[in-house]
């Protein structure tokens, strides 16, 4: 091998390598070897959750920086955000910790704020808001079973009596029907409207459906869950149980019950109820039979209120909607 030729080849080879390193560098880093340092903002949270150094800072989904560090500052947690210079964040923008995925990392999302508001400068603090994280949602779902159980239990006892001589709803109603036909008509329409509310999904459900943020988040969470969250399986089985009851119980609240005994009770109660209605439909009994017995009326009224409250409690608890959505999304 000619010496000069060898030298030339090595030289050419080396230059080629340097050129390729440069091309790679230009392509991947946009020509900045050491990333533009940008400026820092401070965001205080009650809990920075799983946020750690290097996680993204995004604005409308676009990465604009990263987390420099997280530390405790007095009685709160503080995340220091390093934001690319050139990205201006209005003073009224808020920072929130979002979940990038069930198993994935978190990121800090920054709102757009209002146009025209002067931007934050280096070292200033950005205001923050809190969204429920996955754990909160899950623990609320966990509470749902108990709540539902409790609510339906009290509903059932209201219907059937507590076995201490106080007549349950049905016995009372029986008397009521025979004694106070007018008033029972009003009561029944009350009951009906309550059921309708549940069926139509009005109230809290409507609100929740109209809150796309929460809805989307849940949907995303569920999608992730579907693919990966085997750990959540046992819990979801519980939820599924509840949901099955909910689904099959469209016409009959009794079917919602966990406890087969209570369900049976309720079914019997409803059967009684239907008998009464049938009688009513057939025009059996007379107006004269409806004795205006105030005490009975009042007790019936308060029972109805209890039932109403129980139902309200169910709709208010929110997670029942969550379960519904979980159910729809999953099955």
């Amino acid at each position: 091998m000619n010496n000069a030729q060898q030298t030339a080849r090595v030289g050419l080879f080396f230059l080629l390598g340097v050129a390729l390193i440069w091309v790679t560098y230009e392509t991947l880093s946009g020509g900045k070897l050491f990333r533009d340092q940008g400026y820092t903002l401070i965001a205080g949270f009650d809990d920075v959750k799983d946020l750690k150094k290097g996680d993204d800072v995004r604005m409308a989904g676009v990465k604009i920086g990263s987390i420099d560090l997280t530390r405790l500052d007095g009685r709160r947690a503080v995340a220091v955000l390093r934001v690319d210079s050139g990205v201006l964040i209005p003073r009224d923008a808020t920072a929130t910790i979002y979940m990038a995925g069930l198993l994935g990392s978190n990121y800090v999302g920054i709102g757009m704020g209002t146009a025209g508001v002067p931007p934050l400068s280096d070292g200033q603090e950005i205001s923050t808001t809190v969204t429920p994280d996955f754990n909160t949602i899950m623990s609320e779902l966990g509470n749902l079973g108990k709540k539902l159980d409790g609510a339906l239990g009290s509903f059932s006892s209201a219907m059937n009596g507590d076995g201490k001589g106080n007549g349950g709803l049905i016995q009372n109603l029986d008397h009521l029907v025979t004694d106070n036909r007018d008033k029972i008509g009003a009561t029944l329409s009350n009951l009906q409207s309550v059921s309708e509310k549940i069926n139509n999904g009005e109230g809290t459900l409507g609100k929740l459906v109209n809150d796309p943020d929460l809805h989307d988040q849940l949907l995303a969470a569920i999608n992730e869950l579907k693919a990966t969250a085997t750990q959540a399986n046992s819990f979801m089985a519980n939820a599924q149980g509840i949901v099955d009851h909910v689904k099959s119980g469209q016409g009959s609240l009794g079917m919602l019950l966990y406890d087969p005994q209570s369900a049976e009770n309720l079914r019997v109660a409803v059967q009684d109820f239907r008998d009464v209605s049938d009688k009513l439909a057939k025009g059996q009994g007379t107006l004269g039979k409806l004795i205006s017995d105030d005490s009975l009326y009042l007790s019936a009224q308060s029972t109805m209120k209890k039932a109403d409250r129980a139902l309200d409690g169910m709709t208010d608890s929110g997670p029942i909607t969550a379960v519904g959505i979980v159910a729809n999304a999953l099955f």
Partner: protein
């Protein structure tokens, strides 16, 4: 017990060799012709095999990734997967393994035969330290050539993956989408980390191969044994160091 001692001796003599070679660093300009010759052997002549192998590694990586990802419908991430795995891991390790096989074994064979045929003794009596004449130019050459080989391996592998993605029926991902996702998730730091790794591997391989070659004792039969030992030790060291260097760099 004896094994542990021989391992410690190996580590100690390798470190000594490194320090001695570094103490002659000032003589490097005078040895430029030897340096260039070694650059030629280590870099230029290793290039074809590095190119071929990295092309196929990139292709296979893309193919396997595509096959596994088709169940999830995340084909668009093949680019970033191939980009990152080649830049951070496969590029440097593969180049180091090829350098071991192609260059390291040759170094050991050459130095071992010089030792067995008393050429090394002749150098010592001539007051030409073997570390200066035999080890230093090789170390310098590998230090210069490893990043070059690695970046070429990366790029060839990336294009190999792009080609497979385009022409494989069940993937059919356009090179544009492939490279877009690669550029999105592969940073220059990943490539740079890879080059740091390659640098460490290259220096260690050359050092170990020189050391084992120079410590060969006995007759010509020992040359073969030394080469085998050098290659095995180098390969083990590459993979063990890979873990620790990666850990440090992450």
């Amino acid at each position: 017990m004896r094994q542990i001692r021989s391992i410690l001796e190996g580590v100690g003599s390798t470190v000594q060799l490194l320090l001695r070679a570094l103490s002659y660093v000032a003589t490097l300009p005078r040895q430029s012709s030897r340096f260039i010759e070694q650059c030629y052997l280590i870099g230029y002549t290793t290039l074809p095999i590095v190119g071929i192998l990295s092309f196929f590694i990139g292709s296979v990586l893309a193919l396997q990734a595509g096959y596994s990802m088709q169940n999830f419908g995340v084909m668009q991430f093949i680019g970033s997967l191939v980009g990152l795995s080649l830049a951070r891991e496969l590029g440097p390790v593969m180049v180091a393994i090829l350098v071991t096989g192609r260059v390291g074994s040759a170094i050991t064979a050459e130095l071992a035969s010089m030792k067995v045929y008393q050429e090394v003794d002749a150098l010592i009596t001539m007051n030409i330290p073997p570390e200066r004449m035999l080890v230093l130019p090789r170390l310098a050459a590998v230090a210069v050539m490893m990043p070059v080989l690695t970046v070429i391996a990366n790029i060839v592998g990336w294009f190999g993956g792009a080609m497979i993605c385009k022409y494989t029926a069940f993937i059919s991902l356009s090179p544009k989408a492939y490279f877009a996702s690669m550029v999105q998730y592969t940073k220059f730091k990943d490539v740079f980390d890879g080059m740091v790794k390659a640098e460490v591997f290259g220096l260690v391989v050359v050092l170990v191969c020189c050391n084992i070659g120079l410590n060969t004792r006995g007759g010509p039969r020992e040359i073969g044994a030394s080469v085998t030992r050098a290659v095995v030790v180098s390969l083990i060291l590459i993979l063990v160091l890979d873990y620790f260097v990666t850990k440090i760099l992450i």
